[in-house]
């Protein structure tokens, strides 16, 4: 990849990338970089889910976690040079869309009841 990038100028870089020759294997070092970004996104998603009280943002955070998994899948797929990872991401997107549709419908329902998006308002059931 970097070898490719080294050949191309910075300007035409992105387009060249998209139409470039078939990729070569990813180095483990580069893989580490992507994995770190993925793990950090995952952690950020979790932290956001734990701290934000707005139902919509909470669900956005799970989307961020899905996104982190997607990035890991693509990076691993590139490392192994097979397409299972990318296929997986397609399905992850499918599920994310399905979950989002239902979650947002639920949020609308809850908002109608309480006129608020605060998750902590829903705390009547407890031990």
């Amino acid at each position: 990849m970097h070898a490719l990038l080294a050949d191309s100028t910075l300007t035409g870089g992105l387009l060249t990338l998209a139409q470039s020759d078939f990729p070569h294997a990813l180095s483990t070092l580069t893989l580490n970089h992507y994995l770190f970004v993925s793990a950090a996104m995952f952690a950020l998603g979790i932290i956001g889910f734990l701290t934000r009280r707005n139902l919509i943002i909470m669900f956005l955070c799970t989307e961020l976690m899905f996104q982190a998994a997607g990035l890991a899948l693509i990076a691993f797929g590139r490392y192994h040079l097979n397409f299972d990872g990318q296929s997986f991401v397609i399905f992850v997107l499918t599920i994310a869309a399905a979950e989002a549709a239902m979650a947002l419908a639920l949020v609308v329902l809850l908002f109608r009841r309480r006129e608020s998006l605060d998750a902590d308002l829903w705390a009547e059931l407890k031990g």
Partner: protein
């Protein structure tokens, strides 16, 4: 493609039934809409029939599908009368009496059946999973409908609160096990479970599992703990069970749990039970992980159950505890392969899932059959006091089911628990067996409390309960209770089936190489 298609006939039938139910449910004629339950039952029966001849030739657990799908179909059939009429009774009554007109946009019942069937479809798909992607989608298809069923199961805000907790925490859990799946793919380079198993085998033969794989398995297993309500992902259980209608709670105790256990068994199968010093256990980190989770789950579930005053919460925590028991079976693994039920942990888990599912229907059905004056289902333990005097058959059903959950000897639950005990003993898991025994004893506290309330305590004067409006639920309760007793006669057969179903194809490293052969062609003249 076609061989896999043959594998999923039950699911296809269920999905077709779902579509039929959705369409039929839009009829303005109440009598036609009432057919939905019967159509669902018919679809389930056909699915069970279609599951019987299914035989799987590949994968880690080649013959798990007929048993699992049969079990799912049977318990689904028992859940059906319990779920029937959970929503929209008022609307139907209003339409019948002319106070309201039918509007397809407001009909709920058919969708409710449809969600139930969707969920069972997902559950059956989980059983036929041989691929991580497939597994992920099947698990989601199992869970997503249950989120909605919980939310709309009653009119009150409690079920909506249960719904939001269940949905959001469920999404968190899903994201977590998805990340685990991604890492497993990363560690092995494939999503096919058999190839994953082969790759892990090759790694462990070459000097130990890759830590990415370990991390992936660990994260995925913890994420799946949400589905089975195991520590630390059990938090939602009590609130959700309490907030949802009893029928839906019964479903939650079986459907996601079964899906979770099937997935856990498959993931554990991917690393195999042939590691460790004596080559008869899971790889050390996974083993310790499951061990800690199992022990913590048992204790947490049982101890927290003692403090509750709501029967539904007690049953929720008991459901948590039962997950802990079953994890013991997972840890014990398929055993030495002698083919007997008593040293095969996986068979024990599969059998236990069936007994638990059957029994569980009864306990929740009893609760669903009793109404408080304000129209809510019975929940608090005070509501079932003196049940023996007023509704003895319900009290009897409750007693039988509770005793079976407790593992009283002549009842069905006993054999499930004995299977777990003996398989764990033969796997040498003595400390875990002690924890299991200890917890079975603790469980007696709250189970007997329920039985005592129903049988020995007089009804509270100020707590008035009356018969619920839906007779099918009583039927479900009695059905479940009699199953607890009558299935004993075929218990031996079921155990043998579960042994067959748990047949495990231990992976070998050579399997990993198959994709390369085709590629050799392309290096035409190297």
């Amino acid at each position: 493609m076609t061989d896999k298609l043959a594998l999923v006939w039950p699911e296809i039938w269920l999905f077709v039934t779902t579509c039929v139910v959705m369409v039929v449910g839009l009829s303005p004629d109440l009598r036609v809409r009432k057919l939905c339950g019967w159509i669902s039952a018919l679809g389930l029966v056909v699915a069970i029939g279609a599951a019987v001849p299914v035989a799987h030739a590949g994968g880690l657990f080649p013959s798990i599908t007929p048993y699992a799908k049969g079990m799912i179909g049977v318990v689904g059939l028992m859940l059906l009368p319990l779920l029937a009429g959970t929503v929209d009774r008022d609307l139907d009554a209003a339409i019948e009496s002319g106070k309201a007109t039918f509007s397809a946009l407001r009909s709920n019942r058919a969708e409710f059946y449809a969600f139930f069937l969707f969920s069972l479809t997902g559950l059956m798909l989980t059983a036929s999973a041989d691929d991580l992607i497939w597994l992920f989608l099947a698990l989601e298809l199992t869970s997503l409908p249950t989120y909605i069923m919980v939310t709309i199961s009653t009119r009150g805000t409690r079920s909506q609160e249960a719904g939001v907790k269940y949905f959001f925490l469920g999404a968190l859990g899903a994201a977590i096990f998805l990340y685990g799946f991604a890492l497993i793919y990363g560690a092995t380079g494939t999503t096919d479970l058999a190839e994953i198993a082969a790759a892990f085998r090759a790694q462990s033969e070459a000097g130990g599992l890759n830590t990415i794989g370990v991390a992936g398995l660990a994260v995925a297993l913890i994420g799946l703990c949400f589905k089975i309500a195991a520590v630390p992902m059990h938090m939602y259980a009590a609130d959700v069970y309490q907030g949802a209608a009893s029928g839906v709670s019964a479903m939650l105790a079986f459907v996601p749990k079964t899906a979770g256990f099937l997935a856990i068994i498959m993931l554990c199968g991917a690393v195999g039970w042939t590691h460790g010093a004596t080559h008869d256990s899971l790889p050390a980190p996974i083993y310790i992980l499951l061990w800690v989770i199992a022990a913590a789950t048992m204790f947490t579930g049982n101890l927290l159950a003692i403090r509750q005053s709501s029967v539904k919460r007690i049953l929720a925590y008991s459901s948590v505890a039962h997950s802990g028991y079953m994890l013991v079976g997972v840890i014990a693994g398929p055993g030495s392969g002698h083919g007997t039920f008593w040293d095969n942990g996986i068979a024990a888990v599969l059998f236990y899932l069936l007994t638990y599912g059957v029994t569980n229907v009864g306990t929740f059905a009893v609760l669903a059959s009793i109404q408080k004056p304000n129209g809510e289902e019975a929940d608090d333990i005070a509501d079932i006091r003196g049940l023996h005097g007023t509704r003895p058959h319900l009290a009897g059903a409750m007693l039988l089911c509770v005793l079976s959950l407790l593992g009283m000897p002549p009842l069905l639950g006993f054999f499930g628990k004995v299977g777990l005990f003996t398989s764990a003993i033969s796997a040498g898991e003595i400390p875990l067996v002690i924890v299991l025994g200890l917890n079975s004893a603790i469980a007696a506290f709250y189970y007997l409390r329920i039985a005592r309330a129903a049988y020995l305590e007089p009804a509270d004067e100020h707590v008035e309960t009356r018969a619920g409006p839906i007779p099918q639920r009583v039927f479900a309760a009695v059905l479940s209770a009699s199953a607890v007793v009558l299935l004993l006669t075929v218990a031996q057969m079921l155990m043998e089936r579960s042994v067959t179903a748990s047949g495990y194809h231990a992976p070998h490293a050579g399997m990993a190489d198959t994709p390369h052969e085709a590629l050799d062609l392309t290096r035409a003249d190297d």
